[in-house]
């Protein structure tokens, strides 16, 4: 390569080089433009999108669950509360060797393999810096034992939480209910926003029906968290609201007495203040302990409760339906008075049997030998079936239905706890719809004495009794009396819902019935005279026996009580209210498979009325002895002062309620003048529109109208005497 070539090359090379640099510079500028375009795309065009993503990254909503409202009884006694509970928590981040730690902790805290397995499962699902519960609900002794050994266990702490507790345990557990874990089915129904941080929901009773009020509103803290989820600082706080406190109309003492009075018997009791519709006592026995449900009941224990033949989980007072038996007779009497089919002077002669017109079918009175000649009040007091056969036929099924419907039979009372059943009020229309059969006159007879298709809950029975006591007035039964806002202390009364007034033809129809019901208790010969003879207050009542469904309608012979297996024995009914002139308590008692209303159910009702009206139990039974006498126990005065209604929250030092006073006794209709002769009642209906007897009753139906209390003459009389 000579120098000339080299020089020439040098010039050429430099020119080439410059053009190459120029091309490179152009490409470079294009690449820079590409970068800037992408930058504009991200930072200008998609800025909003990425800003949101950045905020989503860093902001965490930490829910602050509200404290659940408390539940009090009418006297301010706590029924459901939130008790502090101690839990043992382990923070994984602070533990070096988890297995070694668990091994060391096992003897100290008594860990079970189940605890450890559950814990390890949770550790896997929880961030390392967050505590994981190892054991919950430590007792004070365990807490103390841990505290002594605490220095050994780095990363293990005792934390406090709240756990729902029911102070009365199984007592009133059906009414108060319980809370439990939120199930998939619950989640499907609720708005998850309302349950941020909450892991329990009302499952039964008031806890369920008033879930909204009790739950409160969850608050939230908006925190800035890092990529590992650890909160670093709080950005915002959204306050929630604690749950409202409920005041029930239930009287815890009365509830307790009622459950004890029932003794070993299964059954239900409903007691209502007829002046307000407030439910004073609602018993269903056997009860159950709600606490295992709160803590999370094991499948095995739950199945055991469900399969228990005495069905402790089922609320007999609202869900149990039974034929009313003879307790329907006061209402039948009222219907008869209303339509002029009976009056105080009407007399029947009971010789123990009754025949439908044009039929050879024999209907018997529970007293086979017959009651002889009776007037209306005594027919009720002695529960003469013949009188009511006649009355039922005269009234006809349609008029019976009309009156019974107004007493509330056949439809749910609307009480503010869930799962109430409506029972069944038999009617022509019902039978045509469901059974696809016409109504037979023999069935009307059966209905007239409270047997047959009837299905009535104890609560319906108590409500109907209260309506009678209120001379056709009365209120929808309810359990929640007032709701308190724990922040302001404002108490809002739940207004009593008056029921539409019952019809009346003459002002004294109610008093006639009530006078007859007083005979039941206060006259020798009345079926419940044993509880009325020494009563310091006047009781209007009626006994009854409900035929157990297991008894075949076709079986003409009612079996003997003692010869019958227990689950086939009849149920004992008793309804009552007192005092008769100014009723303060209306009550229905149903004792399952107990036989006679007068001997078994009536004493229970008497004891409850004693407790409520007198503040002590005078009438002693085997299951509940009389309250020991205290000096100068002023019986009537005590009833007026000591136990008159509620201790209002304001009397417990709380601010006065914002609305009307708690105990508003609604205006009462003046009771009809008693003792008037309802002679003109007859004028009402010659029509007999209600009862259209078929000219020739079908012969088959006779088999289905056998009253249960009727005994076959060839057998030993069953002890059904005190209907």
């Amino acid at each position: 390569m000579n120098s000339y070539d080299a020089l020439k090359d040098l010039y050429e090379e430099k020119r080439n080089f410059s053009s190459r640099v120029l091309v490179a510079a152009i490409v470079l500028l294009l690449l820079i433009l590409l970068l800037i375009a992408r930058l504009a795309d991200l930072q200008v065009l998609q800025h909003d999108y990425y800003s949101t993503r950045a905020d989503d990254n860093r902001m965490r909503v930490v829910p602050m669950p509200p404290v659940r409202g408390l539940i009090y009884d009418r006297n301010g006694a706590l029924l459901a509360q939130n008790r502090p509970s101690f839990n043992l928590e382990v923070t994984r981040e602070q533990v070096e060797d988890l297995d070694a730690l668990l091994e060391q902790l096992t003897p100290v805290m008594g860990l079970t393999p189940g605890d450890i397995a559950r814990f390890k499962d949770r550790v896997r699902k929880t961030p390392r810096y967050r505590g994981v519960p190892l054991r919950t609900n430590l007792n004070p002794e365990e807490v103390a034992r841990f505290e002594i050994n605490r220095y050994n266990f780095k990363g293990v702490d005792i934390t406090a939480g709240l756990s729902r507790t029911y102070t009365m345990g199984p007592t009133a557990s059906h009414v108060i209910g319980y809370v439990g874990g939120i199930s998939e089915a619950d989640y499907a129904k609720l708005n998850e926003r309302d349950y941020q941080g909450i892991n329990q929901i009302g499952k039964l009773g008031v806890e369920k029906s008033h879930e909204e009020e009790l739950r409160g509103t969850p608050g939230a803290r908006i925190v800035e968290a890092n990529a590992a989820g650890r909160p670093l600082r709080e950005l915002e706080q959204r306050p929630g609201a604690p749950g409202r406190n409920l005041y029930l109309s239930l009287d815890a003492r009365l509830q307790n007495i009622a459950e004890r009075a029932l003794g070993e018997l299964d059954g239900a009791i409903a007691a209502i203040d007829p002046q307000t519709g407030e439910v004073l006592t609602l018993v269903s026995k056997p009860g159950f302990d709600p606490h295992p449900f709160v803590e999370g009941i094991s499948t095995k224990n739950y199945r055991a409760l469900q399969n228990d033949p005495s069905r402790p989980l089922y609320n007999r007072a609202l869900q149990g339906t039974f034929p009313p038996g003879s307790t329907i007779k006061p209402f039948m009497t009222f219907a008869g008075l209303l339509y002029g089919e009976t009056d105080n002077n009407q007399r029947v002669t009971c010789n123990g049997t009754y025949y439908l017109p044009n039929s050879s079918r024999k209907f018997r009175c529970h007293k086979r030998t017959g009651h002889g000649s009776l007037d209306m009040p005594w027919a009720l007091a002695k529960s003469c079936d013949i009188f009511y056969y006649q009355l039922a036929i005269n009234l006809g099924i349609d008029r019976i239905d009309e009156v019974m419907e107004q007493f509330g039979f056949g439809k749910a009372t609307g009480i503010d706890v869930p799962n109430e059943r409506s029972g069944l009020l038999p009617s022509r229309a019902w039978k045509r719809r469901v059974r696809k059969e016409p109504w037979f006159p023999g069935e009307t007879l059966n209905i007239g004495i409270g047997q047959g298709y009837w299905q009535i809950t104890p609560l319906q029975m108590a409500q109907a009794t209260a309506r009678l006591a209120m001379r056709g007035g009365g209120f929808e039964p309810h359990l929640v009396h007032a709701i308190e806002d724990p922040l302001t202390g404002n108490i809002t009364g739940v207004p009593a819902k008056p029921l539409p007034p019952m019809p009346e033809r003459e002002p004294h129809e109610y008093d006639d019935v009530i006078a007859a019901m007083e005979l039941v208790t206060h006259s020798p010969g009345g079926t419940a005279y044993r509880i009325g003879k020494d009563s310091p207050y006047r009781i209007a009542s009626k006994t009854g026996t409900a035929q157990v469904a297991g008894l075949s309608q076709a079986d003409e012979d009612a079996p003997e009580l003692n010869a019958t297996p227990k689950h086939l024995r009849d149920h004992a009914w008793f309804i009552a209210f007192a005092p008769t002139d100014k009723p303060r308590i209306a009550i229905a008692v149903l004792a399952e498979h107990a036989g006679h209303g007068g001997s078994v159910a009536a004493p229970v009702a008497r004891q409850i009325m004693d407790q409520y009206l007198l503040g002590k139990v005078l009438y002693a039974t085997a299951s509940l002895p009389a309250t020991p006498d205290e000096p100068a126990a002023a019986v009537e005065e005590g009833a007026e002062t000591e136990f008159d209604g509620f201790v209002t929250p304001s009397e417990r030092g709380l601010p006065p309620p914002a609305t009307a006073p708690l105990l508003t006794i609604p205006a009462q209709r003046p009771p009809a003048a008693a003792g008037e002769n309802p002679a003109d009642a007859i004028a009402v209906d010659d029509a007999e529109a209600g009862f259209q007897a078929p000219p020739t009753p079908p012969p088959v139906q006779g088999d289905s109208v056998n009253p249960p209390s009727e005994d076959d003459p060839t057998k030993t009389p069953a002890p059904h005497g005190d209907h």
């Binding site: 070539d5 090359d9 080089f17 410059s18 490179a24 690449l31 991200l42 990254n57 860093r58 990529a227």
Partner: protein, 377 residues
């Protein structure tokens, strides 16, 4: 400002900073631009590392070391580099071979060589050795190069590139190929060759795909669709795009970026520091930074154009363009324009070797510029 010496009556008394530095073989333009970028880097690093003073001081130390290396290398006349190029390249090749045999493992790849006294990556050495070697090789040849010369050059580029790829370190191999390739391109490689090479790469892509390591393949797939696996391999890109996008035009302000501070952005102070910068400084800040980088490249190309011989021109041009490639690849990767490759953002990313290597390159650029002047005067 570097012109106009001939007519000054007193050329011996330096009048400007520029001239004073010129005597010390330092180019004021490059120095001020590089220092500015370094300061931006330190400021960003302080925020990205979660206010870590330790990280700040360590990075400051490295930058100072880099600038000292730069100043030292600027003193050496360019001819020495030309003479040393084959030796330097040769030693680098041997060390790369040694790395493959007995290198340390870090993050699943063999990159480090422990020489007892100093532990370093021979691939960094090759980043400088490659443009030096190609420039020196083409220096004596008539340009544009003949096809024989091109073949030899491709061998010079290919041999170390393959060894770096085997480590495996795709990003560095790419940069080494690019730096040699730029020298060859500036030497006047025929356009047919260039188009042919592009076609070959396109044809080889499917074959290359099967040769890639799993994690490399994941990166490519993730690049194509970052949301494919938002918690796994796509997480980097998704989070860095969130950081950049949420920065907006004016940014969230220094130390107010949440993505890095709250650890959502991985590698926030190394390869992904650009995302932190964009989040806090916004589009305006990024344009300022891009301007600084562009000026550095422009100054480098200017020095190349004024180069005295082929070696100086090709070396300076290659160093300047490779510097831009660093910037482009890193920003493109962080913005989701290209797959994730381990290329740091020059003078911003935390980490020792790359900053020192880059600044050493600028030392050679300064040497080329300042010695040319003295020689001509």
């Amino acid at each position: 400002m570097n012109t106009g010496t001939a007519f000054t009556p007193t050329p011996r008394t330096p009048a400007t900073w520029s001239e004073r530095l010129q005597r010390l073989h330092i180019d004021l333009w490059l120095l001020s631009l590089l220092v500015s970028i370094g300061i931006v880097g330190l400021v960003t690093l302080y925020s990205a590392s979660g206010h870590s003073l330790d990280a700040l001081l360590a990075q400051l130390q490295r930058l100072l070391l880099g600038f000292m290396v730069m100043a030292a290398l600027a003193q050496v006349p360019p001819d020495y580099y030309r003479a040393a190029a084959p030796w330097f390249y040769g030693v680098a090749c041997v060390l790369l071979a040694l790395v493959l045999v007995l290198g340390d493992h870090a993050k699943g790849a063999q990159r480090w060589l422990d020489l007892g006294v100093i532990r370093f990556q021979p691939s960094e050495m090759m980043k400088l050795g490659m443009p030096m070697m190609v420039a020196a090789w083409l220096h004596g040849r008539p340009l544009p190069p003949s096809w024989r010369v091109v073949l030899v050059t491709l061998a010079i580029i290919g041999f170390p590139a393959v060894m770096v790829m085997l480590q495996p370190d795709l990003g560095t191999a790419l940069l080494i190929i690019v730096s040699g390739g730029f020298a060859l391109y500036l030497g006047g490689l025929g356009w047919r060759w260039i188009l042919g090479a592009l076609a070959a790469v396109a044809a080889a892509a499917p074959i290359l795909w099967y040769r890639l390591h799993d994690y490399q393949r994941q990166r490519v797939l993730t690049f194509l669709d970052p949301e494919r696996d938002p918690l796994g391999t796509g997480y980097h890109i998704t989070q860095s795009k969130i950081a950049i996008g949420s920065g907006g035009v004016f940014g969230k302000g220094w130390m107010n970026g949440t993505q890095a501070k709250l650890d959502f952005l991985p590698e926030s102070h190394t390869d992904f520091i650009f995302a932190v910068y964009s989040e806090e400084m916004g589009m305006m800040g990024v344009i300022l930074l891009l301007t600084l980088y562009t000026l550095v490249v422009g100054r480098g190309l200017f020095i190349a154009l004024r180069g005295h011989d082929s070696f100086q021109r090709l070396l300076a041009g290659s160093l300047a363009l490779t510097f831009f490639i660093y910037v482009f690849i890193n920003m493109g990767m962080v913005m989701g324009l290209m797959p994730v490759v381990g290329v740091p953002l020059p003078l911003l990313s935390y980490g020792g070797t790359s900053a020192v290597t880059l600044l050493a390159g600028f030392g050679m650029l300064m040497s080329i510029h300042t010695h040319r002047k003295l020689l001509s005067s």
